[in-house]
Symmetry: C2
Subunit: 388 residues, 2 copies
């Protein structure tokens, strides 16, 4: 059985789309640097600019407001800084407010000093507590600079979708600036920066079927921009120095275009996710599936089996040929309690398993998951009856 495997960990990294692979291979055939002015250089420049349009279209932005980075972590470190510019004038963000259920690369606060980073609560259903956000914004000391708010559009562990429109209105009314981590949302639900999705989006290529090694910040405008994280070259209009990773950017663009066109296929993905959750409820009736009372991504399920550590279960699934995760894969090999569940009031030590799928997932994958879970649950039941 374990000869054929099911990869159900798309939120950690999605399989590379065929179109992205093709775009990469084509880019790899041209040696040139995108800053070179000879014919070869101009040709790779065109690949970068085409990808910029494709990524912009994915979130209804203008291409000139896309800045490519090496990934979402770099994008977060670029945007989360006190030092900004409005045109040529300096502009200061006095304090960073980030939701307690955000990704570690947002919670770490980027270039803010630790004491200038403050978290606001999420509710037990995983949604941002809008009253808590309003309270921290009301208490913000404007003399230190603007309030910078960072929040995820969809949670990487639970899949819970935040009310970004309402958050954006609150932040706007308070005169703040909103950065939205849309890494897990794009390609799974419609994301539209022109329609109340905040001031900046963070995107990642490899979470939507592009290659690892590319990401972007996308602005509603480019009047106000963060001080560069990397200096020493005029690339990306001076916002991000360094030779462009043309192949990864081209692959990102192709994946962005296809994932936009495939949004309608999310109905099928949702049906498979629901089949997976039906299997969980059948084989493990006492399982807790997290975040189900809030809107969720169609591809994600995050569940706990009582009296079982997610880390142990994850290994059991792996041995059965099913790759899924216990929490997020954000740091090297570390598996521990979920800070997202903790933020949802589930306690310090809560762990859970995450199944995350995509349009390439098949009914065979669902069956393999169901069988693996049935076997694991059965073994646990026998263990419990021996202990009783």
């Amino acid at each position: 059985m374990a000869d054929e495997r099911s990869y159900l960990d798309h939120n950690a990294s999605a399989p590379l789309r065929a179109c992205a692979r093709t775009a990469m291979l084509s880019a790899l055939d041209n040696a040139a640097n995108a800053s070179s002015v000879h014919a070869e250089g101009r040709a790779v420049r065109r690949l970068v600019e085409r990808a910029r349009r494709e990524v912009a279209t994915l979130v209804d932005a203008a291409a000139e407001h896309v800045v490519f980075t090496s990934g979402a972590t770099e994008a977060a470190n670029m945007l989360l800084t006190p030092d900004w510019r409005m045109g040529r004038a300096p502009l200061t963000m006095g304090r960073l407010y980030v939701s307690a259920a955000d990704h570690p690369c947002m919670l770490s606060g980027g270039r803010f000093a630790g004491e200038a980073v403050e978290t606001f609560a999420v509710r037990s259903d995983g949604l941002v507590d809008l009253d808590a956000l309003a309270a921290v914004l009301a208490a913000h000391d404007g003399s230190t600079g603007l309030a910078l708010v960072a929040v995820h559009a969809a949670n990487n562990e639970t899949g819970v979708i935040q009310p970004v429109g309402e958050i954006a209105r609150l932040v706007k009314d308070a005169g703040g600036v909103l950065v939205v981590d849309a890494v897990q949302a794009v390609g799974r639900i419609p994301v539209d920066i022109a329609e109340g999705w905040g001031d900046f989006l963070i995107l990642s290529s490899h979470k939507l079927g592009g290659p690892k090694g590319a990401g972007a910040i996308v602005g509603r405008s480019d009047l106000m921009m963060p001080a560069p994280l990397m200096s020493g070259g005029g690339q990306e209009k001076g916002h991000r120095a360094g030779t462009e990773n043309v192949a990864a950017i081209a692959g990102f663009g192709a994946a962005a275009a296809e994932s936009l066109s495939e949004l309608e296929n999310m109905t099928t993905v949702r049906q498979m996710r629901d089949d997976i959750e039906a299997a969980i409820r059948h084989s493990a009736p006492d399982a807790i599936i997290h975040g189900t009372t809030a809107p969720r991504l169609p591809n994600t399920s995050f569940f706990s089996l009582p009296e079982s550590k997610a880390e142990t279960l994850q290994i059991a699934f792996d041995l059965q040929g099913v790759a899924l995760s216990a929490g997020s894969a954000c740091s090297s090999g570390k598996v521990g309690p979920s800070h997202v569940l903790k933020a949802m009031g589930q306690g310090e030590e809560a762990t859970a398993l995450r199944v995350s799928i995509g349009t390439v997932t098949t009914q065979d994958d669902v069956v393999r998951f169901r069988r693996a879970l049935a076997e694991i649950a059965d073994r646990q039941a026998r263990k419990r009856s021996r202990a009783a």
Copy 2:
């Protein structure tokens, strides 16, 4: 003639080696995140660690002292910072000293404030003025912190090879820390961090035939490390957060291994470069070839034709099917005077053409260059005689 083209701009970006392409394709077949603990995650982790050993071997370092980045610009921005740690204790670099002929990503000073960055001179032959370096080190105010010195091993424009051993001794005697930009040196001359090559090296994948999108810092040890440029994840032992660009890193490793084994082929590359310079002297007897009195990389030639702007000549070569550069390709489409020639005392407006080749360059490329130059020089001579 221009149907077949010769790409002679390897110092801007070298053609991807077949072995690197193969390594990338293999890595792209595995979707997983290298931080995931399932079988797929462990498999891509092995690819990253194999590449780490290959890159370490290239410069005779220990694998555990290699930190992968998205490229050399990120590596420079990571190393050039006042904030370091010695174990867990904070350590401050008081001032950055960088050679006037360094790459813009070094001259920009990374995370140092502008006023804390000081340049030291190079001589008219392009070599670092050791007396000037000794003088700035002697004047360094140790109460501000250690002296951090940054210098290139080989110049990206002229190919001039610096006396890194002597520079390292001077810096060590002054109690300073030396960062060596070895981007253009590795794969072309032996580089050995165990043998007096400074405290940290900066490497770039795409300059040695790996893909764009990967680079590294390599330390002589990891006792003393810069504060991370990117935070928010435990990757690279906490020194560099962000999902590893596995395919680019795997390609980097393969290219590093092959470029090390091909060092002996540099004799052939040097012969072709010398043939190119013989052609320059033949067709344009009044041409100036820069840096020829100093040791130079075997693959680089940097030359000026009197009364001709390099930008115009570069376009003429491009139309003849020869891609070469006028200065470095470090910022988007910008071609201007060479700061390296200025540092060598050639004046504010000096420009030059750079030919840079590699082991894949052929005699056909040399012939195409020779014919293009002959035609361009002939046209110039006719223009001059008409004007006379």
